[in-house]
């Protein structure tokens, strides 16, 4: 990937380095996700990148039902990060049907189809 400052490139390059960066507005201070060249809250173009805390909570969740011979069921959920943004993801390490709304989860960089992606695991009690 080229060494550009395009927001998608910055995010993906960080993931490839096992780091989750979130775009934050220098003017209104709000985070946003997905990455953009401008703040969708106040429309400022002054955007900086901040490492994510990794703390999140499941906002809502579903199980995609799939035949076992095609890989079986898997989880799809929306995680609300401590920074106030939501992202689609998957909680790993527990059965897909055991992922519950309001469950506390921790982000990590995993892999999907050979590319790095943000995944989550339950917070250990």
């Amino acid at each position: 990937m080229q060494n550009t400052t395009g927001p998608d490139h910055v995010f993906q390059r960080a993931l490839a380095n096992n780091e989750i960066l979130l775009p934050k507005c220098d003017d209104c201070g709000a985070f946003h996700f997905f990455p953009r060249v401008m703040c969708p809250h106040c429309h400022s173009s002054a955007i900086s990148w901040t490492p994510a805390s990794g703390k999140g909570r499941v906002h809502t969740t579903t199980v995609v039902r799939r035949k076992p011979e095609r890989g079986g069921d898997y989880n799809i959920c929306m995680v609300e990060l401590e920074e106030g943004v939501r992202m689609m993801s998957r909680v790993e390490g527990i059965a897909p049907g055991d992922v519950a709304i309001d469950m506390d989860v921790t982000a990590f960089v995993g892999e999907a189809d050979g590319a790095p992606v943000v995944l989550f695991k339950p917070v250990e009690e």
């Binding site: 997905f34 995609v64 959920c77």
Partner: protein, 383 residues
Amino acid sequence: MTNDLRGKTAIVGTGHAGFGEAHGLTAYDVMAQSALAALGDAGLKLSDVDGLFCTMMEDSMPALMAAEYLGIQPRFIDGTMLGGSSFVNYLTSASMALEAGLCDVALIVYGSNQRTASGKLVTASRPPAYEAPYNPRYPISAYAMAAARHMHEYGTTREQLADVAVSARAWAQHNPEAFERGPLTREDVLGARMVGDPLTVRDCCLVTDGGGAIVMVRSDRAKDFPKAPVYVLGSAAESSHRQISQMKDFTVTAARESGQRAFEAAGVSRSDIQAVELYDAFTINTILFLEDLGFCAKGEGGAFVEGGRIAPGGVLPVNTNGGGLSCVHPGMYGIFTVIEAARQIRGDAPGMQLKDVDLALAHGNGGVLSSQVTAILGSQNTL
């Protein structure tokens, strides 16, 4: 407040084609058959059409493809693509274009052969880049997550969701045009194959072929056609996101805003509406839209639909043709909400005809609860 468009335009023809399975026909064939049916209903010819309002699932320039297929050269085209709500939205743009003299005969049209062509949703949309890696199943994963959140916040139950499907089927059983007319119980819905928790396959709309069309003119000539005119009293839209991950509140849609403005434009209230036609892609939709359009309070939609309250003989007639759940769902259902509302007002509904309908509401949904468009239609008595 009402706006300058109230009652200025009217629907003078509706038509459809290819309901269920349209073997051997392309999506554009079904589109054209629908157009001919609606023009026949209005006593008009394709050569009379000078305004075209159309989008399709399979191309990026579908309105041009449709005009070319139909052999017309429209002087006004709107091909705005908002998903299934597009065709309710065209009521606004067609009214504006007619009223401004930009066209004299507006044709709103859609067709699809998705069932016989592929058996699943056909779309030219690309998966959103920040969602695609997780492999959600579109659109069901999005609606399933909305349903799960509604259940979590308001105690809505799977039984209440199931009752939406059961009510839709009860209406469909009176409608010879409906694709699914067999008996359906709450237990059938709950026991059906789970596809995206908490939704079973019976919580999901049909996958059918089919097309629909609507002909509109200015009201000053609306009485010159064979069928009683159905007036557009108010129509309004609001969009809140495109990707489900950008939906701010999974239990509240922009139907709150579209509905409020449509009611204000029409100058009528909820209790005046005699037939409610909602885009029920999934059972949760009906609950969300009844709440957001103000027929019940937020969180009370589950109780509102429970036990046949929106079925024939219930407290509010909802999706009187059987809806997308049981009548027809060819990729985008929005146009059929308008057609059923218009036919209830005209008195020639294909299934159960309600008595003396003067006011009906059609509500379109597009994307993943993304685009909401509400229209209120009325008879001559409502002008």
